[in-house]
């Protein structure tokens, strides 16, 4: 595993992953594995290669008080740490999704229709 490659992905994922997590939590409290699954499904495995990469982002969001966490029991009676969106998290998500949408639209305009590059 090379440092440089890892760094590249981190740069790409900063912010992106945060928004995805917050977005996932909008439907209610969820534990780490649930969030990972949801993100993988909704992004066709593009944005989260390893589940483990989710946890630094969760920690960061928790430190920023955008989400809160509590140990609980899952449907199949297993213990899990559940993450809940806070009020600040909800506001942050609204702001960030808007920003990402604008950014994505702008990038799409600049790059034009998708072309295969040689």
């Amino acid at each position: 595993m090379s440092t440089r490659e890892d760094n590249d992905r981190l740069v790409l994922m900063q912010g992106t992953l945060d928004v995805l997590i917050l977005r996932t939590l909008i439907f209610g409290p969820e534990h780490g594995q649930g969030i990972a699954r949801a993100i993988q499904q909704s992004s066709d495995d593009e944005l989260l290669v390893e589940h483990g990469a989710l946890y630094p982002a969760l920690q960061r969001l928790e430190a920023q008080k955008l989400i809160s966490a509590k140990w609980g029991t899952s449907a199949n009676n297993r213990r899990a740490r559940y993450y809940t969106l806070t009020k600040a998290g909800r506001e942050h998500l609204a702001k960030q999704s808007n920003r990402w949408r604008r950014l994505a639209a702008a990038m799409a305009r600049v790059l034009g229709p998708e072309t295969e590059q040689g």
Binding site: G52, Y55, R81
Partner: protein, 860 residues
């Protein structure tokens, strides 16, 4: 990041574990075999250990952990190069130590509160008007102030005087007569016995300082009850103070005595502790009408303001004081700056040498900030050791410096002067701590940033990259060092030059073998009896009366020739007896000296200096001319009342009176006086050429005449002259010391850079020699490099020095002091370039010995 959670590593592990279980369960649900599901869950998660590591690193304890790791690493690295560490620690220790010595003195005189109870609300009272000021109050005023319990918690009175003591070998003790509440209110801590109290008034009892107890009584543990001599009468010691208390102003006392209205008829200084519910400004406003109504009759009450000066420390901290001291501190700080440049240079060289190691660590995933932090830790460790060295050096230098100060002072001054205790207390240690922190950033940050950004691949391939900018940085550091050294060397030489030229000033009168007898505390009424007694002493050849010692004349008046319409100019004046001119050997050039009849009647005649005669009557005979005296400029109006017109009876040679740094007198007028004249304030005596005269012999003579010898002091004029020069002498010495240290540091810095350059260019030099370059050409190469660095630095230093001197010369307007003289600048250049040559010599010789065959082989 804010809000680090207090979440444990275990809690996180549990979460990861739960995650894996959930995932496994999910996969089994999807139809996977349990083992395969477990493996797939792990695979999907990625590196579990790494996730846990990252969680761990995000908690705050990691910083300490890594710091400890860095410290261990730095210590190991330093243990491998002890000579580097020793040099670095010594460099920093000396430079920081010197600055700390300066700070320790500053701390003792400005920052350190007196060792008394609650010093923060202590103030001393004074008053000032536009042209007068005083801090002396009468006993009645003291009583009235003490009654103002609405303003003050306590009002304490004390004074400062020298008393001759046989117990001190005939020398003076600095004494304080203190009010009865001095000890109860200030509560200084005692080593033994008791302080003075209300019951002691009028009793022959005293409290000694720890220093005086050691000096006078050999630190006798049974000192209580012993008596010592004070000007012929015994006093009993009732207490000895601890070393930290030496009084409540900036002149330490040896002995404290109970004051009463008979010992201090003329009054005392007054010190008060303000109540917590009043402000000093309010007290000043309240006391202003009070002091105005009690002021001397010749000062208009409306001009008088009461003034409370903070008295928590020996000198209150003020911006004026800081401004005055800043050039001195700047000089000391510049040495530390040079040391930091020097260290930075060495650290940079080390970092470049370790580039491969750093590159490996970077490629293994260490972040740049982590590498910078690690290199900074090394710097911090060196700085901390340097700080310890500096503190050690300071504790060693303080007593040495104090001893040196007293040894180099003229003996008669050394016997009088005292210094306050100058401990290395927590403020000094805090200052050292700040110095260490600042030094670390100053010398370690730039190399760390520089070293942590190599191109990985190049460095891993063993090529030294980034050396271009590193060596550029090293050159800049050397240039800066040379510049700062140049500035300090110029400063030192300017001081030395002024000391030499002013010290060699021909005063125009004799000081050697002349003694000055002064009366303390303005007891001029004792002058006639003293003059009479000394005149009859067989060992004394001649006694002159004067209104002031010629080395300290400050009285100036405005005068003009009477018959011309000329604006009055400032002229110094003295009242003297005829012997003044013979004792001091000032020749009368025209006309005649004073006659006995003129002195006894205080006739309105005068002798004028040549310069005055030339200015007032150019080309004409001054004898018989009249001088019109407008007003005194430096003293009270009544000082020369009745002297509005005086007739010139002669001219005398120009002399240098007053402070020598102020230069020769522009003019001087002498009026006749005898010992009984109201202006007579001091005596000058010339002993017989044959006898072996000692100043203290005069005390015996004075005592025989029934005079209180406590208030007389006798100084050799030669020593008074020396004492006047002492500040310049000390300045030249300290400046020279700082300059020498800075220069030594720059030389080692330059030497390091040249050696480094040579090792880098060994191959090139080898090829040059193989191609037929002579030793001369190789030396040229080194010298050119050296001159380029030193030349730029020296030039920058000269410009800095010229700017600094120009700035100072606008503040220091002393006639005899010249700051912009060219000689010290040229001399400094010679000194700096000699030092540079010294630095270049060894590397240049080494370069000529490069073996071309060897270097060419090494390349292959």
């Amino acid at each position: 990041m804010a809000n680090w959670r207090r979440r444990s590593d275990d809690d996180f592990s549990e979460e990861v574990h739960a995650h894996l279980e959930h995932e496994t369960a999910r996969l089994i649900e999807d139809g996977m075999a349990p083992d395969a599901a477990r493996a797939a869950a792990r695979k999907a998660f990625g590196n579990v250990a790494r996730a846990q590591e990252r969680f761990h690193e995000s908690t705050r304890w990691v910083w300490f952990e890594q710091f400890a790791q860095d410290l261990r690493y730095a210590a190991r690295g330093m243990a491998k190069s002890p000579s580097f560490v020793a040099t670095a620690v010594l460099t920093l220790g000396v430079a920081l130590g010197l600055l700390m010595v300066a700070f320790t003195v500053f701390n003792a005189y400005v920052l350190r509160p007196f060792a008394v109870h609650d010093p923060s609300r202590l103030y001393r009272l004074g008053w000032h008007s536009p042209d007068a000021a005083s801090r002396i109050f009468t006993w009645n005023q003291y009583d009235e102030l003490q009654a103002r319990t609405d303003l003050f918690e306590a009002v304490v009175a004390h004074d400062m005087r020298f008393i001759n003591s046989e117990s001190a070998g005939g020398r003076s003790l600095s004494a304080s007569y203190v009010s009865a509440n001095y000890f109860p209110a200030l509560r200084p801590r005692l080593l033994m016995g008791r302080g003075l109290g209300p019951g002691d008034a009028g009793q022959p009892v005293a409290v000694l300082s720890q220093q005086a107890w050691t000096r006078l009584l050999d630190a006798d543990p049974g000192a209580l009850g012993r008596t010592i001599d004070l000007s012929g009468s015994p006093v009993t010691i009732v207490g000895v103070l601890r070393a930290e208390f030496v009084g409540v102003d900036d002149f330490p006392r040896d002995i404290w005595l109970p004051a009463d209205r008979t010992t201090n008829p003329e009054g005392l200084e007054v010190l008060m502790r303000l109540r917590s519910d009043v402000t000093p400004e309010r007290v000043e406003a309240i006391l202003t009408p009070y002091v105005a109504q009690k002021a001397p009759p010749n000062i208009a009450p409306k001009d008088i303001r009461a003034m409370l000066v903070p008295n928590a420390t020996a000198n209150p901290l003020s911006t004026e004081l800081l401004a005055a001291l800043s050039p001195i501190f700047a000089a000391f700080a510049l040495v530390l700056v040079t040391a930091c440049f020097n260290l930075s240079n060495v650290m940079l060289a080390r970092a470049v040498a370790r580039q491969r190691e750093i590159a490996v660590r970077l490629s293994l995933g260490a972040s740049r900030s982590r590498i910078v932090r690690q290199l900074l830790t090394e710097g911090l460790l060196i700085a901390a050791l340097g700080g310890i060295a500096a503190v050690t050096l300071t504790t060693f230098l303080m007593p040495v410096g104090t001893a040196l100060f007293f040894r180099t002072l003229p003996p008669s001054m050394a016997a009088l002067l005292r210094v306050v205790p100058m401990p290395v207390d927590y403020r000094v240690l805090g200052f050292a701590f700040a110095g260490v922190a600042a030094a670390t950033v100053a010398f370690a940050l730039a190399p760390a940033l520089q070293a942590s950004r190599p191109s990985l691949t190049d460095a891993l391939h063993g090529q030294r990259t980034g050396t271009g900018s590193a060596s550029r940085m090293r050159s800049v550091l050397v240039v800066a060092q040379v510049a700062v050294s140049m500035l300090l060397v110029v400063t030192a030489l300017v001081l030395a030059r002024n000391f030499a030229t002013i010290g060699a000033t021909d005063l125009g009168y004799r000081t050697a073998g002349v003694y000055s007898v002064n009366v303390r505390g303005g007891h001029n009424e004792l002058i006639p009896a003293a003059a009479a007694a000394l005149s009859t002493d067989a060992r004394v050849a001649e006694v002159a009366v004067t209104s002031g010692n010629p080395l300290f004349v400050t009285h100036t008046l405005a005068a003009a020739p009477a018959d011309a319409d000329q604006a009055p100019v400032p002229v110094r004046y003295s009242f003297v007896s005829p012997e003044y001119f013979t004792v001091l050997q000032i020749p009368v050039l025209q006309g005649r000296a004073f006659q006995a009849a003129e002195t006894s009647t205080a006739a309105r005649v005068a002798l004028v200096s040549e310069a005055t005669a030339r200015a007032f009557w150019p080309g004409a005979n001054p004898i018989g001319q009249t001088v019109r005296i407008e007003r005194p400029l430096t003293s009270r109006m009544d000082e020369i009342e009745g002297y509005s017109r005086v007739t010139v009876v002669g001219t005398v040679r120009d002399v240098v009176t007053g402070l020598m740094v102020e230069g020769a007198d522009r003019g001087h007028i002498y009026f006749p006086a005898t010992a009984t004249h109201r202006h007579a304030a001091a005596l000058l005596l010339r002993p017989q050429a044959t006898g072996d005269f000692r100043p203290d012999m005069t005390f015996a003579t004075l005592r025989r005449a029934g005079l209180d010898t406590t208030i007389f002091e006798v100084f050799p004029m030669a020593e008074m002259r020396e004492a006047q020069m002492y500040p310049l002498r000390a300045g030249a010495f300290v400046g020279g010391l700082l300059g020498a240290v800075a220069l030594a540091l720059s030389v080692t810095g330059l030497y390091g850079v040249l050696s480094y350059m040579l090792t880098q260019r060994t191959r090139e030099i080898g090829i040059r020699i193989a191609l037929g370059a002579t030793a001369h050409a190789v030396i040229n190469l080194v010298v050119r490099q050296c001159l380029r660095l030193a030349g730029v630095g020296a030039l920058a230093g000269l410009v800095l020095a010229a700017a600094a001197m120009k700035g100072l010369s606008s503040v220091i307007t002393l006639e005899a002091v010249s700051l912009l003289d060219v000689t010290p600048f040229i001399a400094a250049m010679a000194v700096v370039f000699s030092a540079v040559a010294l630095a270049a010599y060894q590397p240049a010789r080494r370069a000529t010995r490069v073996d071309p065959a060897e270097t060419l082989r090494a390349e292959a």
